[in-house]
Amino acid sequence: MTALPGWLAFDPRGPLRLGSRDFPGRIWTASGCFGYGLDGADLGAPGRGSPFDGLGAVVTKTVTPQARCGNPPPRLWETAHGALNSIGLENVGLARFADEVMPALEASGVPYVASLAATRPAEFGDMARRLAAAAGGAAHWHGVELNLSCPNVAEGGVDFGRDPAMVERCVAAAREHLPARALLAKLTPNVGSIAKLAAAAASGGADGVTAINTLIGMDVDLRTGAPVLPRRRGGYSGPALLPVALARVDEIVQETGLPVVGVGGIATIEDALKFFAVGAVAVQIGTAQMSDPFAAADVAAALAALR
């Protein structure tokens, strides 16, 4: 791929406006796959750039109201065509995120989106309020992504995010406190109609949706006959997911016309262009970012280099 395809409906090299915010680019990293956006800067070298070059945003690891220590290991398992994870939302909690992570991100100048998870609408509202209060003036804080779809936590998680009414209430609760940030709802593909969830998010005031979180997946260790993950089933991500993510993004765009940030199996500029072809306004790189910290930066550079 050396030239920008003629069929593109917009120029994906340009900045992106979502709600009231301008993002500097359309290649983002996905939540949970690049930490808090504070690691890896040292992986760059003079003349070879940094993993953050050209990124439209880093979506930080999902934080919950309280810190969580996550699930017991093993938490990761490579399958023949993808990856299973069961991290269990290990995170530092909202307070440390606001007090330590956000100031560090502001200092580094990386554009970022904070990913939040909670178990009730009021809790989402409360998290949004606390973040807004702590970091009201943060210049590089572009948005919030509500993770309504994590498959690896016992209380809530996916089930919670499958109910359109609940999605709408969660978004509305957060929206109230975040007038000045782009607000995205991250949706699960483990559902019948993802477009209905997207429409509900829009009713709640979201500026767009992120699709998709992981599919539910599993593997078995043939030596023991037991599931490889202690919690049996986990989140399935990586290359195998791409056709599913593309179909879900297409479904949302076709049925609702909402801005969609596409994610699932993206590793190359060609993959990203497929999402732009179906109407995604930006894309996120998850699993590929884990095996190569420069994955997203490389795609952003390849995109910028298209004639």
Binding site: G32, C33, F34, G35, D39, G40, D42, L43, A45, K61, C69, G70, P72, P73, P74, R75, L76, W77, E78, T79, A80, H81, G82, A83, N85, I87, E90, D221, P230, G238, P239, A267, T287, Q289, M290, S291, D292, P293, F294
Partner: protein, 275 residues
């Protein structure tokens, strides 16, 4: 506690390169040499995440301990155990790779106490590197193998003591203890032996046995753990081991792979790494 200071680690880089040499060094172990775009200074115990370029079937990089670096050439030892290592063996000289290195907290530089090195399976490379860099005659180096053919004798200086699970042919002039490597160490170090710092690397049962030995004797013990890794650079929280202090987890790739044995909760260990 009287722990040796951790050696300071140089920063990690993503480096492009190619396979420069790939040769068997025992019936099961192979030496891989990579020619990279830059030299990789490292401390023994550190590792790399290795990706074969253009292998979309391999989702994650593969962690391998660093054995030696000469100029821009980086060497490691590996065993073929699954599809990634099989592809590595079959890729051939010249195959392009990308490599994140050096990663992780290394074994500490030596302090005045003598050391006991306990290496099993693919746990050998980092302790070979340590012995090469810092070993003294007072250190006791023990390596365990499945049988005589399994061990890379050409790399094991004559000071290394060896144990094997199954007796079998040994190279001329070499001997092997019949049992596991911690049993070998026990046979050489009576309960009255003076204090040593234990450095252990290998499968979980070896690490457990090493930790038990050290605990019994009140010695410091550092173990290098094998956990399944996603990123290798601390961002995915996938490679965790249970921390003793607070019921939480530490990452093998960034907080480790080298840990103080007493800092880990051995009752909550998963089955992620070696068996």
């Amino acid at each position: 506690m009287n722990m040796p200071a951790a050696a300071t680690a140089p920063p990690a880089r993503r480096l492009h390169g190619a396979i420069a040499a790939e040769v068997p060094v025992s019936s099961s172990m192979r030496r891989l040499e990579l020619e990279l775009e830059e030299a990789v200074p490292f401390q023994p115990g550190q590792f790399c995440m290795l990706n074969l370029a253009g292998e979309p079937a391999l989702v994650f990089g593969r962690p391998f301990s660093l054995l030696a670096a000469e100029g821009r050439r980086l060497s490691l030892l590996y065993k073929v155990v699954g599809r990634g290592t099989a592809r590595l063996r079959d890729a051939g000289v010249g195959a392009p790779v990308t490599c994140l290195a050096p990663l992780g907290r290394p074994f500490p530089a030596p302090d005045p106490r003598p050391h006991l090195l306990l290496a099993g399976g693919v746990g050998l490379p980092p302790l070979l590197a340590w012995a090469e860099r810092w070993g003294r005659p007072s250190d006791l180096c023990c390596a365990g193998g499945r049988d005589g053919d399994d061990l890379p004798w050409g790399l094991l200086g004559s000071s290394w003591r060896v144990s094997v699970d199954r007796p079998g042919a040994l190279p001329a002039g070499r001997q092997a203890f019949d049992g596991n490597v911690v049993e070998l160490a026990r046979s050489l170090l009576p309960a009255s032996a003076p204090e040593r710092v234990v450095l252990a690397c290998g499968p979980l049962p070896l690490l457990r046995a090493a930790a038990t030995l050290a605990a019994e004797r009140g010695w410091d013990c550092l173990v290098s753990v094998e956990e399944r890794m996603g990123c290798g650079y601390g961002v995915c929280r996938g490679c965790v081991v249970p921390r003793a202090s607070d019921g939480g987890y530490a990452t093998a790739c960034k907080d480790g792979p080298v840990f103080e044995a007493r800092g880990l909760d051995w009752t909550r260990f998963g089955g992620g790494g070696g068996t």
